[in-house]
């Protein structure tokens, strides 16, 4: 059984802000049924770009639900500029930590938030910039580079825990190692 913090358990059993926000003016979706995790984040943003309400719908495990619930609590009251700086680490910290194998749930939260902000601002996010590395979970080299830099990831296992990349057929593990090495070489 996973060792979840009391806060993860609380946010799973009593998730805050569940359901579709009818008057949302920013929506961000990430994940898929095939992946086993998906999050649809709804934000209501006022004319000063302040998030006045947030809600979510999530398909996934306890960490995914808790991360989604935590995300909505974190961003309520923030301006979009402030929200744009929220990291997956902030979500995990808010919950008192997540098992390392479940860090991808917090990454999913950050991704949905970025998409919702872009949705509000009418910015077209190129779905998958960069070169596709992991075909199973559709993860690009740029996503891996970002995750490695932001979280100080050292190994392919770390990358899998954060992004799922390499967790399927495993054919991309060598390529992931190359990407990690390239980040390390950059210093």
């Amino acid at each position: 059984m996973w060792e979840y913090t009391d806060k993860v358990k609380d946010h799973f059993m009593h998730p805050r802000n569940v359901g579709e926000l009818k008057d949302a003016n920013a929506v961000g979706e990430t994940g898929s049924l095939n992946c086993g995790d998906a999050l649809k984040l709804f934000l209501k943003v006022d004319e000063n770009e302040r998030i006045v309400d947030a809600s979510f719908m999530t398909f996934g495990c306890a960490s995914a639900v808790a991360s989604s619930s935590a995300l909505t609590e974190i961003v309520k009251g923030m301006t979009l500029d402030e929200a744009a700086k929220v990291t997956n680490g902030d979500i995990a910290d808010y919950l008192g930590g997540l098992p390392k194998e479940k860090m991808h749930c917090s990454v999913m939260g950050k991704s949905a938030l970025q998409k919702a902000i872009a949705d509000y601002r009418g910015i077209q996010i190129m779905e998958k910039p960069g070169e596709m590395v992991c075909e199973c979970f559709e993860v690009t080299d740029l996503e891996i580079i970002d995750a490695v830099k932001a979280n100080g990831l050292e190994t392919t296992e770390d990358v899998t825990n954060y992004l799922k990349a390499g967790g399927g057929c495993g054919k991309c593990l060598d390529r992931i190692e190359e990407v990690i090495a390239s980040v390390k070489a950059e210093g």
């Binding site: 998730p15 095939n34 086993g36 719908m57 495990c61 960490s63 799922k164």
Partner: protein
């Protein structure tokens, strides 16, 4: 809170009768069964009786029973023995839905030792592709190892039919019968198997005790080399207390086999029908006819297994999931993937595995809890709207 235990394919409660049988041998009767004194032989005698009871359960001869530490050791011992018996044969065959004790061993033998591994696939019902299996048999095949019943779905492979065809060609046949024992009748002679694995903790004996049946007259190469124990086929001082417990458990399993196939099966079918009736978007995994009487693998669309398990756990209900998130891997179970169970229900698959200790009242409580849990999770799922998958 009372625990409702429906995870018997993971492990079972040690039967009270088994504990009673074992207790004296934790205390006063601590002699070494190999010793040349009456005090030690008191234990030796109990081990001989236990060996007979294990043999009786599978219609073997006591000399054909080797006590091991677990099912995994039995599986590994069988395969390594076969490879040592036929060092020039480089093909080994199994299925793609085996327990990791076989599947990971075969992958190791392929990747590190260069064996030509054939993983015979299953169809959507979890039944083995027999034509492909038979076509794979060659003069170069050292061993075919197939589970008798699948731990996740309960699907039963036709082992007697397969073993006869395999052994007719002079190829060794091993079966991992860890899940089948105590649930369906096993007769090693009628089944034509050369080697067979059992595990104590799946049949109400303690953890840490297993059995390898090795057909009389067969060449056997020990995996654990040491003293003369088990006729030199498995060194190491016997796990005497557990062996004695296992003997009792086998005796009980033989007596309870009819109950498993009537009362327990009826309870399982009741649970299945209630879940199908009361919850939409539900599908049962595996061959419904050709299945262990105690096992129900059932998938719930648009929800994830770990979340369901935690809600069951809150009510004291123990079950298992085929979900990735419970295992630390990322894909749902290899068994469900091999059966091409759609992702929509594979991620939300729960395994209930019953025993004769379960009651109808418990099944009703499970159904009530499941209805509530699935409703709660679907209310927050982006893939479920207006009573259906979107």
């Amino acid at each position: 809170m009372n625990v409702i235990y429906t995870d018997n394919n993971a492990t079972t409660r040690v039967a009270d009768e088994v504990i009673e049988e074992m207790l004296p041998f934790f205390g006063g009767f601590y002699g070494n069964p190999s010793s040349m004194h009456t005090f030690g032989d008191r234990v030796g005698k109990k081990i001989r009786q236990a060996r007979q009871k294990v043999a009786d359960l599978i219609h073997a001869d006591p000399d054909e029973i080797i006590f091991t530490s677990c099912g995994t050791e039995s599986d590994n011992s069988a395969v390594f023995s076969a490879l040592n018996a036929y060092p020039d044969k480089k093909r080994i065959i199994t299925s793609n839905v085996e327990h990791p004790a076989i599947l990971n061993l075969f992958k190791y033998l392929r990747d590190k030792k260069g064996y030509d591994v054939v993983l015979v696939p299953v169809d959507k019902k979890g039944d083995l592709d027999l034509d492909l299996l038979y076509d794979s048999l060659s003069d170069d095949t050292a061993i075919v190892s197939l589970m008798w019943a699948n731990n996740e779905t309960g699907v039963i492979f036709p082992i007697p039919e397969i073993a006869e065809k395999v052994t007719e060609k002079g190829i060794l046949f091993h079966t991992d019968a860890v899940q089948a024992a105590g649930k369906i009748p096993i007769d090693v002679r009628a089944a034509h198997v050369d080697m067979l694995s059992l595990s104590g903790h799946k049949i109400h004996a303690p953890k840490g005790i297993g059995v390898l049946y090795v057909k009389k007259g067969m060449k056997f190469f020990p995996y654990l080399i040491g003293g003369h124990q088990e006729k030199g086929r498995r060194g190491g001082t016997e796990n005497t207390v557990s062996i004695i417990g296992l003997g009792k458990a086998c005796e009980l399993a033989a007596q309870q086999l009819p109950i498993m196939n009537t009362q327990v099966k009826e309870l399982r079918d009741y649970l299945q029908s209630q879940l199908l009736e009361k919850i939409p978007g539900v599908s049962v995994n595996g061959d419904l006819e050709n299945r262990l009487p105690n096992t129900l693998s059932i998938g719930f669309d648009a929800v994830e297994g770990e979340s369901i398990l935690l809600m069951l756990d809150k009510e004291g209900i123990c079950a298992s999931s085929g979900s990735a998130c419970t295992s630390g891997s990322l894909d749902p179970s290899h068994v469900l993937m091999a059966m091409e169970v759609p992702f929509k229900s594979a991620h939300g698959t729960i395994r209930f595995s019953l025993s004769h200790y379960n009651t109808k009242e418990e099944m009703d409580h499970i159904v009530k809890t499941m209805v509530s849990a699935i409703e709660t999770l679907r209310a927050m799922s982006p893939f479920w709207k207006d009573g259906k998958l979107v």
